[in-house]
């Protein structure tokens, strides 16, 4: 399974009310839901920062050649989009990818987090609803962001590596569409959580199945088709607005430091721990 578990942060927030003893989780999509960026932005950043300039040019040309396929894939299937997009990473070293992921998160991603989204994650956490990221973004980008947000568990796409280099293929399950819902169900079963008590936040119509699997789906900044689905299925609709100041918060390094130990101890754990 595509899950990394940093550390089991003890659930010290007893949920008062109807389901006092039940564990609950909130599953968040990332791109477009918590941040105002998409997967393509992360891909372009990564490819534009690999190795020497000759390498960058060749990767970017390769990426540009894929744009028609990416467009068609986007229209048809999110899984296909992920597959086509990540083929462009073939040949990149694991170390380089993970260091670029850290850099992308620090320089770009954190400053593009919706401030209200971070507030909501914290409010949910205080109410005893543990956050979990479920995203199609690659793990080398999601891991540092999860650390920054203090989120222990996440599901992200993972590359298949051969001799330390990306093969351009994604490890199963590919985090897109229905597979997100399946992953949530497995995660809930492993953690003794009832999905009916869980919240889900996503922005794309490709996430309809993911949201439908949860008891409390919320459409966040929904695209046209998800908005229509939300209206017909009576899902609440939430809007996050972009941060006015795009400078990264000062405490990024502190967050990273605080969560560093946890990451070292459990990184790479497979399966819904």
């Amino acid at each position: 399974m595509s899950v990394y578990t940093h550390k089991k942060t003890s659930n010290g927030h007893a949920h008062k009310g109807l389901k006092a003893n039940k564990r609950r989780a909130a599953f968040y999509d990332l791109d477009g839901t918590l941040v105002d960026l998409n997967l393509v932005h992360a891909a372009v950043f990564t490819l534009a920062n690999v190795g020497e300039w000759t390498g960058r040019v060749s990767y970017l040309i390769g990426f540009a050649a894929r744009i028609p396929r990416l467009y068609i894939a986007e229209q048809r299937d999110r899984r296909l989009l992920n597959t086509v997009l990540f083929e462009a990473f073939k040949g990149l070293s694991r170390d380089r990818l993970f260091s670029l992921g850290e850099e992308y998160c620090e320089r770009i991603l954190v400053s593009h987090l919706y401030p209200r989204a971070v507030e909501l994650i914290e409010a949910n956490r205080e109410a005893g609803i543990e956050p979990v990221l479920v995203t199609g973004s690659p793990d080398f980008i999601v891991a540092p962001l999860a650390r920054h947000l203090g989120i222990s568990d996440f599901a992200a796409n993972r590359f298949v590596f051969s001799r330390g280099r990306a093969t351009g293929r994604l490890a199963e399950p590919v985090m897109a569409g229905d597979d997100k819902a399946v992953w949530c169900a497995d995660y809930a079963a492993a953690h003794d959580i009832d999905l009916a008590d869980c919240w889900g936040y996503a922005d794309s119509h490709y996430d309809t199945a993911f949201l439908a699997a949860l008891g409390h789906p919320v459409a966040v900044n929904p695209d046209r088709r998800l908005r229509a689905a939300a209206l017909s299925r009576q899902w609440p609709v939430l809007h996050f607005e972009k941060a006015v100041d795009s400078a990264p918060p000062d405490d990024f390094d502190n967050h990273r430091e605080l969560n560093h130990d946890a990451e070292q101890s459990t990184r790479g754990t497979n399966g819904a721990a």
Binding site: L18, N124, H216, L231, P236, V237, L238, E241
Partner: protein, 546 residues
């Protein structure tokens, strides 16, 4: 209440026109030759034959509006009740907060200029004349949804909007802990919380519109600028069950509680209350036939009604909703008073009753009401089933003084299509309340005990309330409690014209395809001699039931 008939005879014709009980044509009996009656039916209007003998109660005709509202406001500010004139209370460098009734009043929204705009222009001018700069304008939303920028602009007018929006003109936020202050507890142990800005102001000015007698008074500040921590003391099942009715403040535990809170607030905050009353001119121009007794319809009235029905029936629901909510009522201001809250409210109440009250003899076995497209909580939004329940059982049932229009154990017939339809941005917690909580129980006490706190503290609902345009998570509970006195009183509720019987069942109601079927269902139990009363809307009417 109405004056004795002997007293009425002593009055001159001009005085008599607006006297409660002076008009005998407001309560009519349906006979064989009677015309069909207009009945609000969600976003449409029915035109239905009522059984012979049915009593129809019509609202009093609109009182003449004040000839010069601006002059009347000026006079009120200069001649307040039990307080110095506004200008005499001002000094430079003082901190002033102006609280304003939100979009829930009046209904439908009124034509521009809104009364609040007129009031604001004069109050702000007075403040400016006396060098008061530290002025904030707060929309007193309490747990209602935030008004949008366009809605606020429409209500306060261009002048105030341009000068104060957005830094000094904003919606009250009942979940911003830093902006709330606890003022103490009443002798009944009720915690009194208030907007910190208002509590720390040298002068709090409240601008109110009284559409019905439930509005205004201490309730304006004690509810409009208060958070859940305060509201839970009176917006609860016990208090609302002890309110007979909401429209009669002297017999309403809800009002007694908010009065206690208001008095406590008065001890620490200087309040200058400005209350206004509007007449019953809800529809004008091409729609003025909606106010008429159908027996007096001309051919032109019938043609307009048919045309209106046809138009509404053939529009898409979105277009129909937009058209109806964009309609602005030509309400006229029939009074304005300022000064001490209680003294002002007494005068406003007297005028409101003068406009809305109709003496009615005796209760009925069956009460028919039509729920219209709008209630205080769905302006520019969808009337969902929980709000239909609130409007039917909460508001329309409570349109009485002394005794309910329907006898204890009687039947209420509520005309509405009752669709399983919710606005996902305005009413997110209503969706869960309807599909999860009501699926488990319709018992208000059980709902209050089991679910209320969970919804009130739900982070997503709080987030949507604070930063979106959602009603607070706890709001659907209040809507349900609002119908509690009616649920305790009536024996049976039938939804006439119900399109989705499962929705009616979820509310604990029975469903009937048509009004005729609903009446047949009611009379099958109560007998064919059962008395029927139809409360004619629009506009609004308050029955003084003997």
């Amino acid at each position: 209440m109405a004056r004795p008939e002997g007293k009425l005879k002593e009055l001159k014709t001009a005085e008599l026109r607006n006297e409660i009980g002076a008009r005998s044509d407001l309560v009519v009996r349906v006979n064989r030759r009677s015309e069909r009656r207009i009945i609000p039916y969600g976003e449409e209007f029915l035109f239905e034959k009522l059984p012979v003998g049915t009593r129809v109660i019509y609202p009093p005709p609109p009182m003449d509006p004040l000839a010069d509202p601006d002059q009347a406001i000026r006079y009120a500010l200069l001649h307040p009740e039990n307080q110095d004139p506004l200008f005499a209370q001002l000094s430079p460098n003082m901190r002033v907060t102006i609280a304003i009734d939100d979009i829930s009043l009046p209904l439908p929204q009124m034509r521009r200029p809104d009364i609040r705009e007129r009031l604001l222009n004069q109050v702000l001018q007075t403040l400016a004349d006396y060098g008061v700069d530290d002025v904030h304008l707060v929309i007193a939303t309490s747990l209602h949804r935030r008004m949008t920028e366009a809605e606020i602009r429409r209500v306060v007018g261009e002048r105030a909007f341009k000068q104060y929006w957005p830094d000094r003109l904003y919606n009250f936020d009942a979940e911003n802990r830093a902006e709330l202050a606890m003022l103490g507890k009443t002798e009944h142990g009720e915690e009194v919380w208030l907007s910190r800005r208002a509590a720390e102001s040298d002068l709090l000015i409240y601008l109110n519109i009284n559409l019905v007698p439930m509005d205004g008074g201490h309730k304006s500040v004690a509810v409009g600028l208060a958070p859940y921590q305060s509201l839970r003391h009176h917006h609860n099942v016990g208090t609302l069950r002890d309110s007979h009715s909401y429209m009669d403040p002297t017999r309403s535990a809800l009002h007694r509680s908010s009065d206690r809170m208001g008095k406590l607030i008065h001890k620490s905050v200087r309040i200058f209350q400005i209350e206004t009353a509007v007449n019953t001119r809800m529809y004008g121009g091409m729609l003025d036939f909606l106010h008429k007794n159908e027996d007096h319809f001309s051919d032109w009235d019938r043609t307009r009604l048919k045309g209106f029905q046809w138009t509404l029936r053939n529009m898409s629901s979105e277009m129909r909703r937009t058209m109806l909510h964009n309609y602005a009522a030509p309400y006229g201001m029939i009074g304005v008073w300022s000064g001490d809250t209680e003294a002002v409210h007494q005068k406003a109440l007297a005028r409101v009753f003068q406009q809305y009250a109709v003496p009615v003899k005796g209760q009925a076995d069956i009460l028919i009401v039509g729920v219209p497209y709008v209630c205080p909580y769905n302006v520019n939004s969808i009337m969902n089933p929980v709000l239909v329940q609130c409007t039917g059982l909460g508001y329309l049932f409570n349109m009485y003084r002394n005794k309910p229009l329907v006898r204890e154990g009687g039947t209420m017939i509520i005309c509405h299509p009752l669709r399983d339809e919710f606005h996902p941005e305005h009413h997110p917690s209503y969706i869960e309340f309807f599909h999860r909580c009501l699926a488990e129980t319709t018992d208000a006490v059980e709902l209050e005990k089991t679910f209320e706190r969970e919804f009130a503290r739900n982070p997503t609902y709080i987030h949507m309330y604070r930063y979106g345009n959602a009603y607070h998570g706890v709001h659907p509970f209040y809507m349900w409690y609002w119908g509690e006195p009616a649920r305790q009183h009536v024996g049976r509720v039938i939804a006439a014209g119900c399109e989705e019987p499962e929705v009616a069942a979820r509310l604990g109601w029975e469903a009937a395809d048509t009004l005729d079927e609903a009446i047949a269902m009611a009379t099958s139990e109560l007998g064919r001699s059962a008395s029927i009363t139809y409360l004619h809307l629009p506009p609004l009417v308050i029955a003084d039931v003997e």
